[in-house]
């Protein structure tokens, strides 16, 4: 009994983060010529990356997973501050493999640069052996794509009201995002209405601290408390924003499932209106 398609692709070395070789470019171009947008024509420095999860990539039969998703990542000189580290859900500037390609920097657009092609296309060749995304880059790409669909959609009016403190909020968030020691969660009331100028958005802010940090790392706690003060103060300076008095810094052991239900994580991608 012969190998399944999935087994053959696995044997060729295909996995999430593999890079498509130039020998397949002509086929890919043909397959992506849809008429309503430009087909894939990568430059030599560009990377054509397989985005599909490895387990789906090696699924046994074609009808289980007929298509794979690829991302056309274009080479750029430097990552731009507003597009790196998941700050924008629309565009990502990233380093594909710091260890093996320290100079390489790529940029991809979530809408324009994603394509699907038949999975069988990959059977025609091995992935590039001189280029592959690092594990970190694969995780970053996956988190970026997930964020596009999972981030909370806030009322435009709320976003507008806090736009004057954009930089202070970014600074405060960067302090706690570093080292993954805390998560900023907020609840908004109302979360689904555009209010007029006479009404205020009610905001509840929690900085939830990893329990290990809470119990044993006073210096990190100090950093988090300072960031909380900056973050809440910045919000309080905005017209039409009321910060709830229950806002606080909490240990993860104290933060309840109920509080999680009424809050959303706040991250850089929530602030992408300035693109």
């Amino acid at each position: 009994m012969g190998q399944s398609l999935g087994q053959r692709l696995s044997a060729l070395g295909w996995q999430c983060g593999s890079v498509i070789p130039e020998s397949l470019y002509a086929d890919i171009e043909t397959l992506t010529r849809t008429g309503y947008r430009a087909p894939v024509r990568p430059e030599p420095a560009d990377w054509l990356v397989v985005l599909t999860q490895s387990c789906d990539l090696v699924a046994g039969t074609l009808d289980q997973e007929p298509l794979i998703e690829i991302l056309w990542c274009r080479s750029i000189p430097q990552p731009r501050a507003q597009f790196r580290d998941l700050r924008s859900t629309r565009r990502l500037d990233f380093r594909p493999n710091r260890q093996n390609h320290p100079e390489a920097v790529l940029s991809a657009h979530a809408a324009h640069d994603r394509y699907t092609v038949p999975r069988s296309t990959l059977e025609l060749s091995q992935p590039r052996t001189d280029r592959a995304l690092s594990t970190i880059s694969v995780r970053r790409l996956q988190a970026w794509l997930a964020l596009r669909y999972s981030r909370p959609a806030w009322p435009n009016e709320f976003v507008q009201r806090i736009s004057s403190v954009h930089d202070q909020i970014l600074n405060a968030l960067e302090t706690v995002a570093r080292d993954d020691i805390a998560e900023v969660r907020i609840a908004l009331a109302p979360f689904d209405m555009e209010l007029d100028q006479s009404q205020a958005y009610h905001v509840l802010v929690y900085f939830v601290v990893d329990e290990a940090v809470w119990n044993s790392a006073p210096d990190s706690r100090q950093r988090i408390h300072a960031a909380f003060g900056s973050f809440v103060s910045a919000l309080r300076r905005c017209t039409g924003i009321y910060v709830d008095q229950e806002s606080s810094v909490l240990s993860g052991a104290q933060f309840t499932w109920q509080q999680m239900q009424i809050t959303d994580p706040w991250n850089f991608a929530n602030l992408t209106w300035r693109e």
């Binding site: 990552p79 501050a81 790196r84 580290d85 998941l86 500037d93 990233f94 380093r95 970190i136 995780r139 970053r140 988190a143 964020l147 995002a177 570093r178 080292d179 993954d180 998560e183 990893d210 329990e211 290990a212 809470w214 119990n215 044993s216 790392a217 006073p218 210096d219 706690r221 100090q222 950093r223 408390h225 300072a226 003060g229 900056s230 809440v232 103060s233 309080r236 300076r237 910060v243 008095q245 806002s247 606080s248 810094v249 240990s251 993860g252 052991a253 991250n267």
Partner: protein
């Protein structure tokens, strides 16, 4: 207004870049004692605790003061002294921000922590030790929660009353004491009885703080064994938190 009053006032109301004028306006005093008096102000009123992360540079300035006294014994005027202090700030800022350059960029001087930032840093330092709710923190500081929100705002210029400043310093002192005694937050023991009160928050909320009793209470609580949390027990069995996207190194 004495020199000390001016420095204290400047600490709470003025950014670093205007310290010089606040000192100049103090008028005459006892110039011979100025360096020591000013050093005392720096140490005891700006930061009453040992060097913590992010505030060490204040000590770098005060460490240089004795050397200044030896090299510039001719200082006879407050104004001259004020210029010398300003130069010291610049030297320290230069060492921190502008190694290899001959002058400190104005932006570095302007970005030196303003009084509001110092106040916010102190509150963060207190909370790193105590981990109180904002309601309890306001109680122990003897202010309203609305007032506490104003204190937390580093961009707000507030002139603290002497009573408030003293209270803040006392609480900061207790926070430092607790950090020396334990790495867990004091809030872990917030509901434990302590000698002299039902719990530590009640003891710290009294109108007049009895520092000796409070220190005793802190030592009493520090001697307690921190119970292992469920998460800690699970971690010992191999369960780990899955790293979030935030843990990815920056692509800067």
């Amino acid at each position: 207004m004495s020199l000390g009053d001016a420095v204290l006032w400047g600490c709470d109301a003025l950014p670093i870049s205007t310290y010089r004028s606040s000192i100049v306006m103090t008028g005459t005093g006892a110039p011979d004692h100025a360096p020591f008096f000013l050093k005392r102000c720096l140490v005891h009123h700006w930061y009453t605790t040992p060097v913590e992360s992010g505030v060490g540079w204040v000590y770098e300035v005060q460490d240089k003061i004795p050397a200044l006294c030896q090299t510039a014994p001719h200082i006879l005027l407050w104004q001259r002294w004020a210029y010398e202090i300003n130069d010291l700030w610049r030297v320290v800022l230069h060492e921190r921000y502008g190694a290899g350059t001959s002058s400190v960029p104005c932006t570095a001087v302007e970005s030196a922590p303003a009084a509001g930032q110092i106040r916010a840093d102190r509150l963060a330092q207190i909370q790193s030790a105590f981990g109180f709710s904002l309601q309890d923190l306001a109680r122990v500081l003897g202010i309203s929660r609305a007032q506490l929100y104003k204190w937390l705002d580093s961009q707000r210029e507030i002139q603290l009353h002497e009573d408030s400043r003293n209270r803040l310093n006392q609480i900061l002192e207790l926070a430092s004491e607790w950090r020396r005694l334990s790495s867990v937050t004091l809030n872990t023991f917030a509901h434990e009885p302590v000698p002299g009160a039902s719990d530590i928050v009640a003891l710290m909320s009294q109108l007049e703080l009895d520092m000796a009793t409070l220190r005793l209470a802190l030592h009493h609580l520090a001697a307690r064994t921190t119970p292992r949390t469920t998460t800690e027990q699970l971690r010992e069995r191999g369960f780990r938190r899955r790293p979030s996207a935030n843990s990815l190194p920056s692509d800067a």
